[in-house]
């Protein structure tokens, strides 16, 4: 009898820390704040740009607001949401002798660190890809409607968003140099929701000195 009781208690672990962790692992979106802000700044910038005529007639106010939103978006995507949502990061490192190079890293899947969830990764990449495309459309519409004073803003928007997109694509490519393979696996993930065996590796720094200043 006593043995059975002991066995029973052994099966149930009353460890509340683990429960939280389990809930964390099972959640579809683990960083709701980061996910929200990832999309918030980009979408607000686009909405403000499109609707600025309705809010105020001031060119300067609209310009500065959109520029601020784009800057906040750039900073948060580069420094926070990429790291939290998909485990990627990139930066510029300058050696002692003044040479600069770009470093792209992808986080290894480990028991301590959770791998990116499907929902978060999907939101991240969709937000990252669609917004620069929208800004490119704005570029052509501004150009052809001859509202050239807005062109500076649109070009700034495209540069900032494309920089993040390019950086994260290079992170994702990691050791792979074959863009076709990456695109195929990316698309298949998006469409079929299969978790492909992710090789979260730190790309060899030698292989990825793509920009040598």
């Amino acid at each position: 009898m006593k043995q059975a009781l002991v066995d029973d208690t052994e099966d149930v672990s009353l460890d509340f820390g683990n429960e939280e962790e389990l809930a964390f692992r099972k959640a579809k979106i683990r960083h709701p704040l980061a996910t929200f802000f990832h999309l918030f700044f980009r979408v607000s910038a686009i909405v403000t740009y499109v609707c600025c005529d309705w809010f105020s007639r001031s060119f300067v106010g609209c310009f500065v607001t959109v520029l601020l939103l784009l800057s906040f978006d750039f900073w948060s995507v580069k420094n926070v949401t990429g790291r939290l949502l998909v485990g990627l990061r990139w930066w510029n490192h300058i050696d002692e002798d003044g040479k600069g190079r770009w470093i792209f890293e992808a986080r290894k899947a480990s028991p301590q660190h959770s791998v990116a969830t499907e929902a978060e990764a999907r939101i991240f990449w969709l937000g990252l890809v669609i917004c620069p495309l929208i800004w490119t459309v704005f570029f052509f519409s501004t150009l052809f409607s001859l509202k050239l004073e807005w062109l500076a803003l649109v070009i700034a928007g495209i540069s900032l968003q494309a920089a993040n997109l390019y950086g994260y694509i290079l992170c994702k490519m990691g050791g792979e140099r074959d863009i076709g393979k990456i695109t195929a696996s990316f698309l298949s993930q998006m469409v079929f929701q299969t978790a492909s065996p992710r090789d979260f590796q730190k790309p060899g720094l030698k292989g990825l000195e793509i920009h040598k200043h």
Binding site: V60, S71, K78, N79, I94, G98, G100, W102, H213
Partner: protein, 193 residues
Amino acid sequence: MAKAAESSGEPGTTSPRPLMRDLKAVGKKFMHVLYPRKSNTLLRDWDLWGPLILCVTLALMLQRSSVDSEKDGGPQFAEVFVIVWFGAVTITLNSKLLGGNISFFQSLCVLGYCILPLTVAMLVCRLVLLAEQGPINFMVRLFVVIVMFTWSIVASTAFLADSQPPNRKALAIYPVFLFYFVISWMILTFTPQ
């Protein structure tokens, strides 16, 4: 506009508070521009947030208050923006073509941060213009702008000159001179109406 290199050389760790780290880095660079000495900070940990802030501030202060709300300083605002960024990019390309060993973003960083004295000059000029107009007013503004212009040139050459081969220094520096001259001219000829 990438951020400065990650703090501490250990790979795989990130700074726990990237926002404070970046704000401190920007502040430190402003200090280095105000008290230029031979140091590598502007070059090593470059970032473009300072230049963006300065450019926007300068463009905002160069607004004319016009009665007609249709063209409410639109072209002037975008003009300042284009002049600053396009000018900085051109200078950088020039110095790279002359064989300088400074990277594109580092050069943009230095040129942008060294606009700080001229932004201060703009602020002072706007305050001085609140007083009554006249030749004295103009002389005061001229003096302030000349001092700040010299400060900008000294600060930027302190950082940029080393990266050029010795016989090309003048060739690399004169576009910087032109760049800050144009900005000083815009500041000096500014009138509020």
